[in-house]
């Protein structure tokens, strides 16, 4: 019994020391990671709407894949468009996008904030290959009719669902 307790205690101590070290490294890196992530998002806003002068961001918590909505303004305070941040997890990993929609409701561009899908296999669903399906198209459309049989069906299906979630929210909010 004493031997078993000692064994358990040893393993616990190793795990505890590892946890403490992880906590220290996390407290060092977390602010840097968050700041870099915010910078990437701001850079992406500029890439989606080069005329962007200011924006108003709001969190969305409607239970869908949407996490935030941004209204983008030009120098004269006219609405240039909207940016939606959406994210989903499927069997292959996670996808997070920023979808830019102009004031007329057309998808101007989207940015892959995260595309953690199975390397190689998911390549046909990347923006450079599959993006044409969504770009320059009205956000409100029949998403069920979009072909996802591209050799990366699950990734394509998740992408389609993300755009459908944006469409559903955008239709009701604008």
């Amino acid at each position: 019994m004493k031997q078993k307790l000692l064994t358990g205690l040893t393993l616990f101590l190793i795990a505890a020391v590892s946890g403490l070290l992880l906590d220290q490294v996390n407290s060092l890196t977390q602010p840097v990671i968050i700041e870099a992530r915010e910078d990437r998002i701001l850079t992406a806003y500029g890439a989606l709407f080069p005329m962007l002068e200011s924006f108003e961001a709001s969190d969305v918590s409607d239970g869908s894949a949407l996490t935030s909505r941004v209204v983008v303004f030009d120098a004269q305070a006219n609405v240039l468009g909207y940016i939606y941040q959406v994210a989903a997890v499927n069997d292959h990993g996670s996808i997070a996008l920023l979808v830019g929609i102009n004031a007329a409701g057309v998808v101007v561009d989207y940015v892959e904030l995260e595309f953690n899908q199975t390397p190689g296999i998911s390549a046909p669903a990347r923006k450079s290959n599959y993006g044409f399906t969504f770009l320059s198209q009205p956000i409100e459309r029949d998403y069920e009719a979009i072909d996802i049989s591209i050799g990366a069906t699950r990734s394509a299906s998740t992408l389609r669902d993300l755009f459908a979630a944006v469409s559903a929210y955008h239709g009701g909010s604008v």
């Binding site: 031997q3 000692l6 064994t7 040893t10 393993l11 190793i14 795990a15 590892s18 946890g19 070290l21 992880l22 490294v25 996390n26 060092l28 890196t29 840097v32 990671i33 870099a36 990993g93 953690n116 390397p119 190689g120």
Partner: protein, 217 residues
């Protein structure tokens, strides 16, 4: 064993990839580009050195029944730390390595060295073994990736993923005035190219070994 021998035996005589055939997953998966291979090599050297050091420090206090679980906890902790640091300070490398960064936890070289060397030797010797084996692993990755990148695209590009290469640069674009990138063999950039390259290197090495043994017999 001398320090120099600990540092150098992983490079050739006991190279983890070409001799022991360990760590083949990253050797095949992240060697399409020299820069990502170099990044993976540096991270493996760090994890291997630190995990060997800590395994050696705790080896006398860990009962046999929980030896392997303890080593895995130590290795996983270091890989997670390195992963966090890479995401914070070398984000492009973090993205390019993708899932293969956390998979360092299950790299056979790391657990193999912990079990076969660090658990039986003193901390300094274990650290040197970690550095030596890490260097051998990195050298193997650089050889494989150099062949693959040059054959697939005709170039070796630096400056996209690692923070210490300030600007993107191309070191072998022109050879004798010919733009070799026009003559790239695409298959070497694909997974099949990794198997072909590693297979050819192993065959050449084996051939040299057989010839050497024949000459000495």
């Amino acid at each position: 064993m001398k320090s120099t021998e600990l540092l150098t035996r992983g490079l050739t005589r006991e190279n983890p990839v070409f001799v022991m055939l360990l760590g083949m997953c990253p050797a095949l998966a992240v060697t399409a580009r020299v820069e990502t291979a170099l990044g993976m090599g540096i991270l493996v050297i760090l994890v291997l050195t630190l995990s060997n050091l800590f395994v050696s420090l705790v080896k006398d206090y860990v009962p046999d029944q929980i030896r392997v679980p303890s080593y895995i906890v130590i290795i996983a902790a270091f890989v997670t730390m390195i992963s966090m640091l890479t995401e914070a300070f070398a984000y492009d490398l973090f993205v390019s390595l993708g899932v293969f960064l956390p998979l360092i936890v299950v790299n056979c070289i790391i657990l193999g060295r912990a079990e076969s060397f660090a658990s039986k030797n003193k901390p300094i010797a274990s650290m040197l073994d970690g550095i030596g084996m890490g260097l051998g692993f990195s050298l193997a990755l650089i050889i494989i990736s150099s062949i693959r990148e040059v054959l697939s695209s005709g170039t070796i590009v630096f400056g996209e993923y690692l923070p210490f290469f300030a600007t993107p640069g191309d070191v072998t674009q022109l050879i004798a005035g010919v733009n070799v990138s026009d003559y790239g063999i695409a298959v070497f950039g694909l997974p099949a190219g990794a198997f072909l390259t590693v297979g050819l290197i192993l065959a050449i090495r084996q051939g040299m070994q057989v010839r050497k043994e024949g000459a000495s017999a």
